[in-house]
C-alpha cells in the first residue's frame, strides 16, 4: 500500500503538475493566437454584465409554416387546375383545411400536393403533412415529428443569428447557449444596460420586397382581396399600403448591407447588395414593373414604397426611411446577420453593475480565504504532521480542481466559489477517515508501518462508498438541474473526483516518502 514505484510516483506528481499547468491560462494572456487557451469564466456577479434568457416562439414557427403552405397549395392547385372553394389554416390544430369543388378531384389534389405529403428524401425521412378528411373535405395536418425537427432547426438557427448579431456589436466574450427545448441563454459581460441589445435581439428582421397592388385602397377599411395584405407604414402606422403577398425578392438573398447617407437628400439609408439569385429576381421584377411602386417590408411593416424608375440590374439597392444614424446602422446589422426564424421574447433578465461586482468580490474573497485558513489550521492542530500532509493534498486538490474547471471553460460565480470551499472542507474527510483508522490501528498495538498500511487499506472502502454516493447525487443534478444548479453540480462533481485522487493517492505518496525517509519508531497520531 505504501510502496510507490518510481514510475507511479512520477505519474502522481505529473498529474498534479498538469493541474497546475491547466491553471496557467487564467493568469496570463495567450502568447499565440489560435492556441487553445481554456479559462475559467467569471460569472456576471463577479464582473458585472447582463444575462438574458430568451424564448423562441414555437407557435410562430408552426404558424409561419402553415402560412407558407397556403401559398404552396394555391400554386400547386393552379398548376394542376384543381378547383376549391375554401383554403384556410388553423393554428390551434396545426391544420390546413381545404374544401374541394369536386370530390372526384381528391386523388388528383393529393398527387398535386406530392412534395408536402411524401417524405422528401425517400422512405424513412419525415413528410411535413399527413392528409385526412373525406369527400370534398381535405385536411392537411402538420405531423408532430416534422414539427419537432422544424422547432429544433429554428432554435439552432436562432442561436446562430443571435451570435452574429451580438458579434457585430463588438461585445467582448459573449456566451450564447441553448437551454432546454426552446430557450437561449445570452451572457454579456460588461454590458450593464442591456436595453439596446434586447432591442437588437428582439427584432425578427425578416425583410421582403413586394409589388404594391395599386387597384385597391388599403385605407378604406375593407378586407384585402385574396393574395393581398394591408400592411402599416413603419413611420406612420395609421397609413396602410396594399401589397401583393407573393414575395418578389427575399431579404435572405442579400450578401451585404451597409449604413450610409444619401448624397442628394442627406438622409440615412442602408445600401444593400443582392447575391446572384436575388439580383436576377430583382432585375426581372423591376424591369417588368417600371413606373410602378414596390414595398420594402420588414417584420410586417412597410419601411418604404418607392416607385421603380428604371430596371435595377446591378443587384444593388438603397433602403431609405431610417430616422438617424443609429437606426440605419442597426437595420444594416440586422439585415447582414439574417432574419430570425421566429420571434424571440425575453423571459428572464439580470444585469449587475460593476460596483456590486467589486463589493461582492471583496467580501467573498475575504470570507473564502478565512474559511480556507480555518480548515488548514484545524487539520494541523487535530492531526499534526498527517494534518499537514492532508493540507498539502488539499492545496493540490484546489489546483487540480481549478485546472479541470479551466479545461471545461466553467463559469465561476460567487455561490460556485462557496461550493468549492465547502467541497474542500468535505475533501479533508477522506484524510480524516485515513488518519482515524491509522490511529485505531496504532492503538490496537500495530507497528507504524502496519498501522499505515492497514489504515489506508481499510479507509479506502469507506472513502469510495461515501464519495460515489455523493457523486451519483450530483450527476443526477447535472442531468436534470437547470442553469446555476447545473454549474454547481459540475463544480462539486469535479471536486469529488479530484478529492479521490489527492486525498488518497497524493497524500499517500507524501506519507510514504516521509516514512521511507524517517523510519519513525512511533507515528505522530
Amino acid at each position: 500500500m505504501l510502496y510507490f514505484s518510481r514510475l507511479k510516483a512520477a505519474i502522481v506528481i505529473g498529474a498534479c503538475l498538469l493541474g497546475l499547468l491547466l491553471c496557467v491560462p487564467n493568469f496570463i494572456a495567450a502568447p499565440l493566437k489560435g492556441l487553445p487557451w481554456p479559462q475559467i469564466h467569471l460569472g456576471l456577479d463577479l464582473r458585472g454584465g447582463s444575462f438574458l434568457l430568451m424564448q423562441v416562439d414555437m407557435n410562430a414557427v408552426a404558424k409561419e409554416k402553415l402560412g407558407s403552405t397556403l401559398d404552396e397549395v394555391r400554386q400547386d392547385f393552379r398548376k394542376a387546375s384543381i378547383g376549391y372553394t375554401r383554403l384556410a389554416s388553423d393554428a390551434t390544430t396545426n391544420q390546413v383545411q381545404i374544401q374541394l369543388l369536386d370530390a372526384n378531384q381528391r386523388a388528383a389534389a393529393i398527387t398535386a400536393l406530392g412534395d408536402m405529403l411524401n417524405p422528401p428524401n425517400g422512405p424513412g425521412s419525415l413528410a411535413d403533412f399527413t392528409a385526412g378528411g373525406d369527400g370534398t373535405n381535405l385536411i392537411l395536418t402538420l405531423s408532430p415529428p416534422a414539427m419537432q425537427a422544424r422547432a429544433k432547426a429554428a432554435l439552432t438557427q436562432s442561436i446562430e443569428i443571435i451570435r452574429r448579431r451580438i458579434d457585430s456589436t463588438g461585445i467582448v466574450d459573449p456566451q450564447i447557449a441553448q437551454q432546454g427545448n426552446n430557450r437561449i441563454m445570452v451572457q454579456l459581460p460588461g454590458i450593464t444596460d442591456p436595453q439596446h441589445v434586447k432591442k437588437l435581439l428582439g427584432e425578427t428582421a425578416h425583410m421582403t420586397f413586394h409589388l404594391v397592388d395599386e387597384s385597391v385602397n388599403a385605407n378604406s377599411g375593407q378586407q384585402p382581396p385574396p393574395g393581398d395584405a394591408f400592411l402599416p407604414m413603419q413611420d406612420n402606422p395609421s397609413q396602410k399600403i396594399a401589397i401583393q403577398q407573393s414575395v418578389m425578392v427575399d431579404g435572405a438573398d442579400l450578401t451585404n448591407a451597409q449604413a450610409g447617407q444619401d448624397p442628394q437628400t442627406g438622409g440615412w439609408v442602408v445600401n444593400i447588395t443582392f447575391d446572384s439569385l436575388g439580383s436576377r429576381q430583382f432585375a426581372d421584377v423591376t424591369s417588368a414593373n417600371v413606373g410602378h411602386p414596390f414595398a420594402i417590408v420588414l417584420d410586417n411593416q412597410v419601411i418604404s414604397d418607392p416607385v421603380i424608375r428604371e430596371a435595377i440590374t446591378g443587384g444593388r439597392a438603397q433602403i431609405s426611411g431610417s430616422a438617424n444614424a443609429q437606426a440605419a446602422t442597426d437595420l444594416a446589422l440586422l439585415l447582414r446577420a439574417g432574419a430570425l426564424p421566429a420571434p424571440l421574447t425575453v423571459v428572464e433578465e439580470q444585469s449587475v453593475g460593476p460596483e456590486l461586482g467589486a463589493d461582492a468580490i471583496r467580501a467573498g474573497a475575504i470570507s473564502l480565504g478565512v474559511g480556507f485558513v480555518l480548515v488548514i489550521f484545524f487539520m494541523a492542530a487535530f492531526y499534526g504532521l498527517f494534518g499537514w500532509f492532508a493540507n498539502i493534498a488539499l492545496i493540490a486538490n484546489l489546483i487540480m480542481m481549478m485546472g479541470v474547471l479551466s479545461l471545461l471553460g466553467a463559469t465561476l460565480t460567487l455561490p460556485g466559489m462557496a461550493g468549492i470551499l465547502l467541497t474542500l472542507g468535505m475533501a479533508v474527510d477522506a484524510n480524516i477517515l485515513i488518519n482515524e483508522r491509522v490511529r485505531e490501528e496504532v492503538r490496537n498495538g500495530r507497528t507504524p508501518l502496519q498501522a499505515l498500511e492497514a489504515g489506508y487499506k481499510r479507509a479506502y472502502g469507506t472513502i469510495i462508498d461515501s464519495n460515489v454516493t455523493a457523486l451519483l447525487a450530483h450527476v443526477m443534478l447535472f442531468i436534470f438541474g437547470a442553469g446555476p444548479v447545473r454549474g454547481f453540480a459540475v463544480t462539486i462533481t469535479v471536486g469529488i473526483v479530484t478529492t479521490l485522487f489527492t486525498a488518497t493517492v497524493f497524500a499517500r505518496l507524501l506519507t510514504s516518502r516521509w516514512y521511507v525517509y524517517r523510519r519513525p519508531a512511533a507515528l505522530p497520531v
Binding site: Q350, S351, L368, L374, P415, T462, V485
Partner: protein, 323 residues
C-alpha cells in the same frame, strides 16, 4: 514544532462508550415533531420564494445618503408601482426593490423604467447596482426541474446504498435525508431566508454532506456486523457510532469552519447560502447518530442477524488474525 508534528487535541477521548441507542425514541420523536412542524410551516406561512421561483423584478440600488423607505415607497406609488416591496441590504445606504411578475416583457421594461424614474426623484445621484427580471413561466419550470433533480438524487442514493449494503441501510439513509431536508425547509421558513436557485444548491450540498456522513457510519456498522457475529445489533450500532465519533465530529468541524466566515461576512449573495449550510451540517451530523442509526436498529433488529449462527471462538480469532 509540536504544532507541526503532534496532534494538539482530540474532539472526544478515544474509547468512548456512549449508549446512543438509549436515546433512540427521544431522537426519533424529536425529529418527527420537528419535521412535521416544518411541513406545517411549509404550508403556512410558507417559504419566502426568491425571484427565481416566483417571477418578478428585483433591483438593488445605492443611494448617496441612507435611503428613507417611506419616501421611496411614496415615490414608487406615485409612479404607479404600489405593489413594490422594499428591503434593506447589508450596507446602510443600499436598498432592494422588488416587484411582482408582469404580464410580458414590455410591461416589465416599463416597470423597471418607472423604478429608475422614482429613484431619481427621491434620491438623485443613485446607482442601480443590479436588476433581475424573471418571467412566471420560467420560474415554474425551474421549480419543477429542481424538485425532479432532488427526487432523482434521492433515488440514486437509495439504489446505491441498497446495492452496496442492505435495503435496511438504504431505507434508513433516505428516510433520514428526507427528514433532514424538511427540517432545512422549516429553518428557511422561520429565518425568512429566501428560497431561490442558490438555496437549492445549498440544500443539495447539505444532502451530499449528510449522505456522506451516513455512509461512513453505516460502513463501520457493516464492518462490525462481519467482525462480531454474535453481538446484539443495538450494542453493535452503539460501538460503531462511538468508534467513528471523532471522524464524524472532525469532518463536521472542517465543513462548519469553512462555512462560518461565509455566513458571518460573505456578502449578501452567499450569506444565506452559508447560513443554511451551517444549519444543515448540524442537522446532518446529528441525524446520522440519532435518526439513521435508530431506523436501522428497528428495521434490522431481526433481519440483519437472521442468517448468522453464534460464531465459534476460534473463528472469531481467525477474523482477528486476518485483520
Amino acid at each position: 514544532m509540536r504544532f507541526f508534528y503532534k496532534p494538539l487535541f482530540r474532539l472526544v477521548p478515544d474509547g468512548t462508550r456512549i449508549h446512543f441507542m438509549r436515546g433512540r425514541y427521544a431522537g426519533l420523536i424529536v425529529s418527527a415533531v420537528l419535521s412535521l412542524a416544518s411541513l406545517g410551516l411549509f404550508f403556512y406561512p410558507g417559504m419566502r420564494l426568491g425571484i427565481d421561483f416566483k417571477g418578478g423584478v428585483v433591483m438593488e440600488a445605492r443611494t448617496p445618503t441612507p435611503p428613507s423607505f417611506p419616501a421611496i415607497r411614496a415615490a414608487l406609488a406615485a409612479h404607479d408601482l404600489p405593489d413594490a416591496g422594499l428591503q434593506a441590504l447589508g450596507a446602510k445606504n443600499e436598498v432592494m426593490i422588488r416587484l411582482e411578475s408582469r404580464a410580458n416583457a414590455e410591461a416589465t421594461d416599463a416597470a423597471v423604467a418607472r423604478v429608475h424614474a422614482a429613484l431619481d426623484q427621491v434620491a438623485p445621484g443613485n446607482q442601480v447596482l443590479s436588476t433581475s427580471a424573471v418571467g412566471a413561466s420560467v420560474s415554474a419550470q425551474l421549480f419543477h426541474q429542481g424538485l425532479m433533480a432532488l427526487g432523482l438524487s434521492l433515488l440514486m442514493i437509495l439504489i446505491y446504498i441498497w446495492f452496496r449494503f442492505e435495503w435496511q441501510f438504504a431505507v434508513g439513509a433516505v428516510v433520514t435525508l428526507i427528514l433532514d431536508i424538511t427540517k432545512t425547509i422549516g429553518f428557511l421558513v422561520i429565518t425568512r431566508l429566501q428560497f431561490d436557485l442558490v438555496m437549492v444548491a445549498a440544500i443539495l450540498t447539505i444532502l451530499g454532506y449528510s449522505t456522506n456522513d451516513k455512509v461512513v457510519v453505516y460502513d463501520r456498522m457493516r464492518e462490525n456486523l462481519r467482525k462480531y457475529k454474535t453481538m446484539p445489533l443495538r450494542e453493535l450500532i452503539d460501538m460503531s457510532i462511538n468508534e467513528t465519533l471523532n471522524r464524524t465530529l472532525g469532518t463536521s468541524m472542517t465543513v462548519f469552519l469553512a462555512a462560518l466566515p461565509l455566513a458571518l461576512f460573505g456578502g449578501s449573495s452567499i450569506q444565506d447560502f452559508a447560513i443554511a449550510m451551517l444549519f444543515g451540517i448540524v442537522v446532518g451530523t446529528s441525524s446520522s447518530i440519532f435518526i439513521a442509526a435508530p431506523i436501522l436498529l428497528f428495521l434490522g433488529e431481526k433481519r440483519l442477524r437472521r442468517d448468522t449462527r453464534p460464531a465459534k471462538p476460534e473463528s472469531a480469532k481467525k477474523v482477528q488474525a486476518r485483520l
